[in-house]
């Protein structure tokens, strides 16, 4: 008898909270997560004067500012992803292969963006670009400042978005490269007569496909949603345009914001499932939620 009762107590003691209470809490938080999105969805498809309609979605697409904002955002996204991978994949491979001593330093450098909030980075960019422009029309710094801020091709935005992704991309690529025997792979490929570019493209890349896709998806999600740097530097990307039309047509802006949000979440879900773990995302929270 005593034995049995002790056993049931042991089994009970493993649980701290009663299952009923646990489910209640889970359902409450699930509601908190779901309700705002459902309300936004309801806002976008139901207009009190017109009933159920897709009009808000159509209105957002018809807005004169939409094509410009969309094309600017897409251009920045493509350039950022390409720039990021072109910069970081060779750098990380080189780091592991030829300059392992520099790894701690590069790691620290790649962590710095975590302690520079986006608004502070944007403020720094603004002050530098303004003081460069202050050298006077036609001077070299003013020209560089203009070139970086070219409204059709904002290099400064591409550069700062790459910086914002560095902490996560470094970790992801670093972990990926650590799991493969890079030196042996490269030496065997070289001994078979492959050139450096071929090795990178046909031997290394396929072996770090996971981290590369992770980095690319993370970067796309960031570019689609980033608001702080874009608005501070005066660019009309999709999120900035959304806040500008919200005052006059909230339903249209919320429709488009839902679409963008759905796309971002899909990318993040795919990324997390592909990565198989959520570790790099953890560090993202440090950064705040500027994007």
């Amino acid at each position: 008898m005593v034995h049995v009762s002790r056993k049931t107590r042991a089994a009970r003691d493993v649980r701290v909270v009663a299952p009923g209470l646990s489910w209640a809490l889970i359902i409450l938080v699930a509601l908190y997560i779901a309700v705002p999105m459902l309300c936004a969805f309801a806002f976008s498809i139901y207009v009190p004067t017109a009933g159920f309609t897709f009009e808000p979605y159509l209105e957002s697409v018809r807005d004169p500012g939409f094509p410009g904002a969309l094309s600017l955002t897409l251009l920045i996204t493509v350039l950022t992803v390409v720039g990021l991978l072109a910069l970081m994949v060779p750098t990380m491979v080189y780091l592991h292969l030829r300059a392992p001593r520099w790894r701690p330093i590069i790691e620290i450098v790649c962590t710095i963006p975590l302690v520079v909030p986006s608004i502070a980075l944007a403020a720094g960019l603004v002050t530098v670009l303004r003081s460069m422009a202050g050298f006077g029309r036609g001077s070299l710094p003013a020209q560089v400042s203009q070139l970086l801020q070219n409204p059709d091709l904002p290099v400064v935005l591409v550069g700062s978005y790459i910086v914002l992704t560095l902490p996560f991309v470094f970790r992801s690529l670093d972990a990926g490269l650590r799991t493969i025997d890079l030196r042996t792979l490269v030496e065997s490929a070289h001994s078979l007569g492959a050139s450096g570019a071929t090795v990178l493209r046909r031997v290394i890349l396929p072996n770090i496909k996971g981290p590369v896709i992770f980095s690319a998806f993370f970067c796309i999600a960031l570019c689609l949603g980033e608001f702080t740097v874009a608005v501070t530097l005066g660019y009309r990307t999709l999120p900035v345009w959304l806040t500008q039309i919200a005052g006059s047509n909230f339903r249209a802006s919320i429709s488009m914001s839902l679409l963008i949000n759905a796309l971002t979440w899909a990318l993040l879900i795919a990324m997390t499932v592909l990565a198989g773990r959520a570790a790099p995302a953890r560090a993202r929270a440090l950064k705040g939620h500027e994007s």
Binding site: V14, Y32, T91, V126, S160, V163, E290
Partner: protein, 314 residues
């Protein structure tokens, strides 16, 4: 005699091998030293970092530490005036309010997140845990304009829930410090779950059984074993949530805009855009440096705690 010869000869062969290995090792070390010193391949990366991270950060620090020279228009003198101004008046209000909101938001999110993580484990559903793992990493990364908009649709002035529960009559408004704290939970709770779930899941059932078998109550188990092991993870979660709230700009800007609730990130905005008074921009830079310092402190507290929290599980 033969054995002595044998013993005399025997070491010589391995000795040669050892010497050879030593030689190879030293050659390899030398080769590695050579390649290690050649950092030329890192130059493109370093140039990029200097351009897009080094220069802006130096820019903000330099601007923060200087003011326009009254005697010579257009030139600057080094000064601490901007920092003094950042701890006074409207700037200090914004910083204090940001700190206050971040502390409360982190406590609320931390407690709910911790309870939720334990609740999820209590259900013992593998499916739920898998879904939660993916969802938390997505939600922890969500935010910005869409977050603010969906909260406006739900509990804004004309929000659906506001109407259903007549929240306005209860004195609730989304466009307040309380509203911001409510909205921040959307990414704070998932972040907390993400940080503490692995640790709580790692508290082995055997430990609980062992504690129970020597007669420990559930309360005693948590007091003596569970909490001490989980404390570093829980603390690192709180610190992380604080840092995340403090640095938040986009969703707050989309919700509050220019006026209403004073926040340090919004204050930097208005200081940059203002141009109303010369010198406001430099105070904004000082506020930016303050933000960087706070984020640095957060990271310096977070990292050792995070490392410690992994101690039991590796």
């Amino acid at each position: 005699m033969t054995p002595t010869v044998a013993t005399r000869n025997a070491p010589s062969a391995p000795g040669a091998i050892e010497r050879a290995i030593c030689r190879i090792d030293s050659l390899r070390a030398r080769a590695e030293r050579r390649t290690g010193a050649s950092f030329w391949g890192l130059i493109p990366f370093l140039i990029f970092i200097v351009l897009f991270l080094g220069i802006p950060v130096c820019g903000i620090v330099l601007s923060a530490f200087r003011v326009a020279d009254v005697n010579e228009p257009g030139s600057y003198v080094p000064s601490l005036v901007n920092f003094a101004a950042s701890f006074r008046g409207a700037s200090w209000d914004a910083m204090r309010n940001s700190l206050q909101i971040s502390v409360i938001a982190a406590l609320v999110g931390g407690v709910i997140g911790l309870a939720l993580a334990q609740a999820i484990l209590t259900t013992r559903s593998r499916k739920l845990t898998a879904v939660v793992t993916v969802l938390t990493s997505v939600l922890a990364n969500s935010g910005g304009v869409p977050l603010a908009f969906s909260f406006i649709a739900a509990v804004g002035n004309a929000g659906i829930i506001t109407g259903l529960l007549s929240l306005t009559d209860l004195g609730f408004t989304l466009y307040s410090s309380g509203g911001l704290i409510l909205m921040y939970q959307y990414f704070l709770i998932p972040t907390m779950v993400m940080v503490v779930l692995p640790t709580l899941a790692g508290l082995r059932v055997e430990w609980k059984e062992a504690a129970a078998s020597v007669g420990a109550t559930s309360w005693q188990f948590w007091k003596k074993i569970g909490l001490p092991i989980a404390t570093p993870a829980i603390l690192s979660g709180f610190v992380l949530l604080f840092g995340a709230s403090f640095a938040t700009h986009a969703s707050a800007a989309a919700l509050i805009g220019g006026g209403g609730v004073p926040l340090i990130s919004l204050r930097i905005d208005s200081g940059l855009a203002g141009g109303n008074l010369a010198g406001q921009e430099n105070v904004a830079m000082a506020l930016g440096v303050n933000m960087i310092v706070v984020a640095l402190i957060v990271l310096l507290i977070y990292m050792p705690l995070q490392k410690r929290s992994l101690k039991w599980f590796t």
